[in-house]
């Protein structure tokens, strides 16, 4: 808030923390299947999630605070996914990308696929599509930022 010529900005610690947190979401490099190709496109120069503060994909779960589950989660992968999620420091967020991750997708009648990653880890934003376009994933990340700042309707 600007008052006169002095230029004072008033805010709360919580607001400032949420603002900083939402604008420095570092995702974990975690591609499971074909959706990971679209996730790489999001990181590339054309779509470029650096514009939203998701600067680089970290290679260690201990340095990242956003897990984009991109691709089919098999039953064998689920314990590993849980372990990676447990290694991430708080606060941590999960984006479920693609229908395979949301409810099993085309493998819903198979024997080997987890029917929704929300059975394994809590999910913040669901991005549907097979695969979702880079625009959709960017929108998902922006939705997550709004959620962190407490601006969402739900």
């Amino acid at each position: 808030m600007k008052t006169g010529e002095t230029g004072i900005l008033t805010t709360t610690i919580d607001k400032a923390l949420e603002w900083g947190r939402s604008n420095s979401l570092w995702p974990l490099t975690f591609g499971l299947a074909c959706c990971a190709i679209e996730m790489m496109a999001v990181q590339g120069s054309h779509f470029d999630i650096s514009r939203f503060g998701s600067e680089i994909f970290r290679n260690s779960p201990r340095q990242s605070d956003l897990m984009i589950v991109s691709g089919t989660v098999t039953k064998k992968m689920a314990p590993r996914l849980k372990r990676l999620y447990d290694e991430m420091p708080y606060p941590k967020y999960v984006i479920a990308m693609g229908v395979c991750v949301i409810q099993g997708g085309p493998y819903v009648k198979g024997y080997s696929v987890v029917l929704g990653v929300d059975r394994v880890v809590p999910v913040d934003v669901f991005v549907p599509g097979c695969p979702p376009t880079p625009d959709a994933l960017t929108y998902g990340i922006m939705t997550l930022q709004k959620k962190i700042r407490g601006e969402t309707d739900r």
Binding site: K75, P79, K82, R83, Y111, S112, R119, V120
Partner: protein, 152 residues
């Protein structure tokens, strides 16, 4: 003397040889000497009454593929590991998915699924309604379970 039961061409033009199971090792040895030095693929097919195993061989010098088919009634096929080392994992995969046992394989265990998994999922009579789940124990070993609360 190897008896070829049937010789035909596939849709992709690859020659297909259907041979007896007892002739498999001898036939493959001949083909390897003829220059088919690369075992490209082993797959199995469940024909309900019997199992079929297909071998795709490739020759680098001739740039040519051939397909060898054998059928088995009692789920056993001779292992090709004495000819090609790559048969190791391919045969383990077929054992995992279809339950075909390969005689002479040194380490025939499941390739992808945990050892405690019940049944072979690519068989026609596999029961998909009896859902199994996988979890990891404290030593990092996978195990399969029917309890939905235990794994995923």
């Amino acid at each position: 003397m190897v008896e070829i039961l049937e010789e035909k061409k596939g849709k992709d033009g690859r020659p297909i040889f259907v041979i007896k199971k007892s002739d498999l090792l001898e036939f493959m040895r001949q083909k390897k000497q003829e220059g088919f030095d690369h075992l490209s693929l082993i797959t199995g097919v469940d024909r309900k009454d019997y199992m079929e195993v297909n071998y795709h061989l490739y020759s680098f010098s001739k740039n040519q593929y051939i397909v060898v088919k054998v059928t088995t009634d009692n789920l056993t096929v001779p292992s090709l590991i004495s000819l090609w080392k790559s048969a190791d994992w391919e045969e383990r995969e077929q054992y995992d998915m279809l339950g075909i046992r390969f005689d002479g394989h040194p380490d025939l265990k499941r390739m992808f699924l945990p050892e405690s998994w019940v049944g072979h999922p690519l068989r026609k009579d596999y029961d998909l309604n009896n859902v199994q789940y996988i979890n990891m124990d404290e030593y990092g070993e996978d195990y399969a379970t029917f309890d939905p609360g235990d794994g995923w």
